[in-house]
């Protein structure tokens, strides 16, 4: 049997993290009631003209800089014409002739080592609306909230050759774009989605095979399954002649585990692209370019190396923290406040991550004030609040903007240094459990831990454990 190799190129759409839409001032926020974030411009009403959102251009430049692209200093918009009810103007405003970024690279790592994937271009464009099919009335319902929400489309060269490489590429893109705050890249909300262009050819051949495109994939696991299915389908078609491969666009049904033909693959000619006469060219001068360049974050791997080399974290801890920009920001701010980076890393990786999981939140949804986390950790390290009570305060800090020290004082979480008061509570506990006292005195050392737990509960955790233990043993021995 002939050995085949797979050739894959990706078109990845990411929704840009702006407050407003690309060509009008309507809110771009996800989750509004249907058609509540619309205006005559994004509804395609006659006579309305687009005005470009500055932040969209800046995020486009940022994406390009993160992916090692050349930035086109003169960039233009074009009209891509097609009719569909979710596109009220009957054209999508996008970029064909002078996209904002060209010629980039992204380094990926897989089980086979590292590899550079070339980026052909990044262009800015508007999203389409949403259609809901109403079976009851046999009609389609149109919601224009998403219309004109800004997107960047990142087009790779066909440099990928397996599902594993595709996953590594998408995860790398997601990490870089989230770090630079270009997009939240939430695949489940559709703010990152992907079209997979795939063909196969005999190993060693330089001639590309028939290409199919699987549209609108928004889950890494579904992408993996779709690629594996398509590769098997192509090989089967070539080996057995079971079907004729044609250049076409296909839809992936993840429940059935199959792809289906949607339409013949379009080419640029089908869309009758032409320069948008309503949007003048955008010129990016040196001053604007430099101001965006200055906002670029430290790359995740550079941060990771710094955390290990300069702050003394383990590779594992540094790796965990650099999975998210929000975690890194919180870590750096908390460390600056309390001066104990290792402690901060422990709190974030154990307690904070646990709380995020419990609330089904992702790292990037973390809004914890790093400065206040640092204050809380300092309270623990200074012996003013017990670790157990600090965890209770932390869970409040997740939902409310509180000052940890004030909250601890107000709610009786400050550790008591009053040994007379502690001794009096211990005496009462000891008097109430003569069996534990007798057990301890007869050599059962573990009995002291039962008394210790009872005393700590009575003291609501507000006691230095070492002080409590010493006083307890003393009182039990005298009892």
């Amino acid at each position: 049997m002939t050995k085949y190799e797979t050739v894959i190129g990706l078109e990845v759409h990411v929704e840009l993290a702006t407050k407003s839409k690309i060509f009008c001032s309507c809110s771009a926020e996800f989750g509004a009631e249907q058609n509540e974030s619309v205006c005559p411009a994004c509804c395609g009403m006659p006579g309305m003209l687009p005005i470009v959102n500055k932040k969209v251009v800046e995020l486009g430049m940022t994406a390009g800089m993160m992916l090692n692209c050349d930035i086109n200093r003169v960039t233009t918009f074009d009209k891509k014409n097609y009719y569909y009810p979710d596109l009220p103007t009957s054209y999508q405003t996008t970029q064909l002739f002078a996209p904002i970024c060209v010629n980039g690279t992204v380094e990926i790592t897989t089980s086979k080592g590292t590899k550079n994937v070339r980026i052909k271009q990044i262009h800015m464009e508007e999203d389409a609306g949403k259609l809901v099919h109403d079976d009851w009335t046999d009609t389609s319902l149109v919601d224009f909230n998403r219309t004109s929400v800004p997107l960047c489309e990142i087009v790779s060269q066909p440099d990928l050759s397996s599902a594993e490489e595709v996953v590594a590429y998408l995860e790398r893109l997601r990490s870089l774009l989230r770090f630079a705050k270009v997009s939240d890249c939430r695949m489940e909300q559709g703010s990152m989605r992907c079209d997979v262009n795939l063909s196969i050819r005999p190993e060693g051949s330089d001639k590309l095979g028939v290409r199919t495109e699987i549209k609108n994939m928004n889950s890494i696991s579904a992408i993996t399954r779709a690629i594996e299915y398509e590769v098997a389908r192509h090989i089967d078609a070539l080996e057995t002649g079971s079907e004729e491969l044609v250049q076409e666009t296909r839809r992936w049904d993840d429940i059935k585990g199959k792809s289906y033909a949607m339409r013949n693959k379009e080419t640029a000619g089908d869309y009758r692209y032409f320069p948008d006469p309503n949007i003048m060219p955008i010129v990016i001068d040196d001053e604007w370019y430099d101001s965006v360049k200055k906002t670029l974050p430290e790359f995740p791997e550079v941060k990771k190396a710094r955390y290990v080399d300069k702050l003394g974290l383990t590779e594992y801890d540094a790796d965990q923290l650099t999975r998210s920009r929000a975690l890194c920001d919180c870590f750096e701010s908390a460390s600056a406040t309390c001066g104990m980076p290792k402690e901060v890393a422990n709190w974030l990786i154990s307690d904070v991550m646990k709380m995020l999981n419990k609330k089904s939140m992702t790292f990037d949804m973390l809004s914890l004030d790093g400065n206040k986390l640092g204050q809380l950790i300092k309270l623990v390290e200074d012996g003013k609040v017990s670790r157990a009570n600090a965890k209770k305060i932390l869970s409040i800090m997740f939902d409310e903007d509180i000052n940890p020290e004030e909250y601890a004082e107000k709610n009786g979480y400050i550790v008591s240094n009053d040994t007379d008061q502690i001794a009096s509570i211990i005496s009462a506990v000891v008097a109430g459990d003569p069996k534990a006292v007798a057990d301890y005195k007869s050599g059962k050392e573990k009995a002291i831990m039962s008394l210790f737990g009872k005393c700590m509960r009575e003291l609501k955790g507000n006691c230095d454990p070492q002080v409590l233990k010493e006083l307890l043993i003393d009182i039990v021995n005298k009892a």
Partner: protein
């Protein structure tokens, strides 16, 4: 330009050309391609790129979200709406 591509462009632009017209269009494009090729010979490395025929660039705005219109007002002219949606004939995929 190849004749097949011209026929495809006719289709997507809803045009129909007679054979003689096609020959004229193809000859026209061939001549323009030659003209453009001759421009490659011009030394342009020291010439600043012309951004637009007029000395203007795009006006851009800050990223501020403003709600200026109410849904009901925008849907006043719609033939059919339901639950805040525009309602259109069912789409066949």
């Amino acid at each position: 330009m190849e004749k097949e591509y011209l026929i495809k462009l006719e289709k997507v632009n809803e045009l129909r050309l007679e054979d003689a017209e096609r020959e004229n269009v193809l000859a026209f494009f061939e001549k323009r391609a030659e003209d453009l090729a001759s421009l490659e010979e011009v030394e342009t490395s020291n010439i600043t790129r012309m951004v637009h025929v007029m000395p203007i660039t795009a006006g851009i705005r800050e990223d501020v979200a403003i709600k200026k219109f109410e849904r009901d007002d925008l849907q006043k002219g719609a033939p059919e709406t339901t639950d805040g949606y525009w309602q259109v004939p069912r789409l066949v995929e």
